[in-house]
Every structure is written in C-alpha cells, then in structure tokens.
C-alpha cells in the first residue's frame, strides 16, 4: 500500500474520525477528537487492511497556547506509517490512556504526565520516573518553565 492509497483508504474508512492535516511532512498526518482516542486507536489497530499494531512514539507539544499530543504509529505487517494528533486546552488537560491498545504506551504516557502535567485517565502506574521522586518544581517541558541555573546562550 503506498502513501496515496493509505490516504484514500483512511479517508474512506475512518473519514469520520480522522481528518487530514497538511502540517505533516513525509508521512500522513491526521487530527482526531480527544474523546474518541481509544476507540479510534483500537479501530486502527484492529482493521485488517492497515493493522497499525506498533506504537512508535507519543509526543506532547506545548505551543504556548495549547497542548498537542502526537501519536506516531506503524504497521509491521503492512509496512505503513501514520501520525495523528489532537489539541488540548492548557487548563486541566486530560487524555485517555491507550495502553490497552498498545502496551508500550505506558512509559510514553507517564513521561507526558510527568514532564507536561497532562493527566492520563486509566493509567495503571502514574509515578515519577525521569525526575526525582520528590520533584515539586512544576512541569519542566512546558514553555513557561525556567530553571535559574541554566547556562544561557548569548542572545542572537
């Protein structure tokens, strides 16, 4: 299945859930509704034609106005790649865990929770692991977080 075929297949089969975006480079990028997250993921994973059974990466982005959570998935048997994302408001950001679809999401979600402060629903082990256990200085990957002991680069 080429990229074009994948695009048209996604449009025809999952058109209601995945909306194509034009920001993605090289691989197709879609937008989904956060409340449908687990359902969509399960559908993508179970669909025989695409079978996205491999989670490459989950990455949160702080754009200073909102959070974006980007899921990069791949299909091992069909050799396909796909990204999809959704936006979250800055306040009380919360997403569902996709652990039941891809078990490997566990640590990726933990990391998002720890570094961005996005709460994960239905996650079995939300504990600190990259930062010290007694960390109380906020969420370091947010853009407004600043450390006093950073070595600054000269201003350009």
């Amino acid at each position: 299945m080429t990229k074009e075929e994948l695009r048209s297949y996604i449009d025809s089969t999952f058109g209601s859930q995945l909306k194509a975006l034009d920001t993605g480079r090289h691989d197709p990028m879609y937008e989904i509704e956060p409340q449908n997250l687990v359902k969509t993921c399960q559908a993508l994973c179970d669909d025989e034609k695409v079978k996205f059974n491999f989670l490459c990466n989950i990455s949160a982005v702080d754009t200073t106005e909102k959070f974006e959570v980007v899921y990069s998935i791949a299909s091992l048997p069909n050799k396909l790649r796909l990204d999809f994302k959704f936006s979250l408001p800055y306040e009380n950001a919360e997403i569902d865990s996709v652990q039941e679809v891809w078990s490997g999401a566990n640590w990726h979600e933990r990391e998002i929770w720890e570094l961005y402060g996005i709460n994960i629903r239905n996650h079995d082990n939300l504990t600190r692991f990259l930062l010290p256990d007694d960390w109380d200085q906020g969420f370091p990957m947010r853009k407004d977080w600043d450390a006093p002991d950073f070595i600054r680069l000269p201003e350009k």
Binding site: I151, R152, L153, P154, K156
Partner: protein, 214 residues
C-alpha cells in the same frame, strides 16, 4: 556423543585464547607513547595567527560565538572609531566546550581551529577557561591551510545564495582591510600544506602493522 563435542568446543575456545597469548599487545603505554592524532582530529580550541605578522586572524565577527551550542566562547569586539571591530576579549571555557567543531566551520577567516592536542587536564576547573593570550600561544605553531583568499569573492556574491538575513554580509563589511595581508601570506602556506598529509601517514603505518597482526 554430546560430551565429546562439548569437550571439543571447550578446547577450541582455549585454543583461540591460547593463540592470542603469544601475540603482541595492541595497546600503547599512554604517557610514554602517544598516538599520532590524524589531521583534522578535534581537540582543544586554539586561535590561529598569521604566520608572517604573528597577529591573530580573528576579526571579531562573532560567528563562532553564535554557532557554539554550549556557549563556551565568550568574545567581545566593539567597533572602533573607523567602524572596524577590535578584538578585546576572546575566552573559551573548555569545561563547557563539547568539541563539536561548529566554531571552526563557522569561521570565514581561518581564525579558530580545533587542534589535535587533547591533553588539558588541570587540578582546578577555573584553569580550563582560556583567555586570548593562551589561545594564541596554543595556536602559534598550528599548521593550517589558508582559505581566506577563496572566501572573499564568495562573500561578495552572498546575497544570491539565499535571501535570509545572514550574518556573513555583516562580517564582510569588516573583512576587506584584514583579509589583504592574509592573501599575501597565502602563497607561503603552499609549500607547507603538502607536509600535513605525511603526518597521519606515520600513524597509519603503525596502525596497519598492529592491525595486520590481529
């Protein structure tokens, strides 16, 4: 017979280690013997001086400072009365330096180079902050191929390449006066240049010897 096969394999393993027992060591005794670093190996940062005049090549354009990913370079070159930059301060903090070589690549005036020397251990971290004098001293005998002559026309036609606001034209404004003596010095460099490939060749021979014995 599993037992005999296993015994055979065990003896084979002993044979391989035993074979190595009589061979020469491939390591070297470090402080006494030293490895010849290949040309272009990235060691400490030095400032290059003009071989003829003995002055620093640096024009103080600040490109290296901007290129440095760790902020190890601190330089100050205010413009003098004749709108020319005067290099006041050039400090490299070797404790911050990550030896990426971006400063050397960003420089258009052959002023900064990563030398092949790599030994810089000191007892106090503060001694790793090298000022201009030390950097010049370190770079005094460093061979380099002067490319400043070639750079000059390239800078002139810079706006054609990309419309982005490049730092280079700014530097070019400072350039002409400084670049002239360098252009004269360039022919002197030519006889020296072929020497440099010889240097790594020694190291190469040594390496192949030990490699062949392996």
């Amino acid at each position: 017979m599993g037992v005999f096969k296993n015994l055979k394999e065990l003896i084979k393993g002993m044979g391989i280690t035993g074979k190595h027992l009589g061979r020469h060591a491939i390591t070297i005794q470090y402080p006494e013997e030293k490895w010849t670093m290949p040309e272009g190996s990235r060691g400490v940062v030095v400032l290059l001086s003009d071989k003829k005049t003995g002055e620093l090549n640096c024009t103080g354009c600040g490109l290296c400072e901007k290129a440095c990913p760790t902020g190890a370079i601190d330089l100050d070159a205010p413009r003098g009365e004749d709108k020319k930059r005067v290099l006041k301060k050039f400090v490299v903090d070797n404790a911050l330096c990550c030896f990426c070589g971006l400063c050397e690549e960003s420089c258009n005036f052959c002023a900064i180079k990563m030398d092949t020397r790599y030994e810089m251990s000191v007892l106090d971290k503060k001694e790793l902050i090298w000022d201009m004098g030390k950097l010049q001293e370190m770079g005094k005998d460093v061979d380099y191929v002067d490319t400043r002559k070639k750079k000059k026309p390239k800078v002139a036609k810079k706006p054609v390449v990309k419309p982005t606001e490049d730092a280079k034209p700014e530097a070019a404004a400072v350039n002409p006066g400084d670049a002239k003596p360098a252009a004269e010095a360039a022919p002197d460099k030519e006889p020296e240049a072929p020497k440099s490939p010889d240097k790594p060749a020694e190291g190469d021979d040594k390496k192949t010897e030990s490699g062949g014995e392996n």
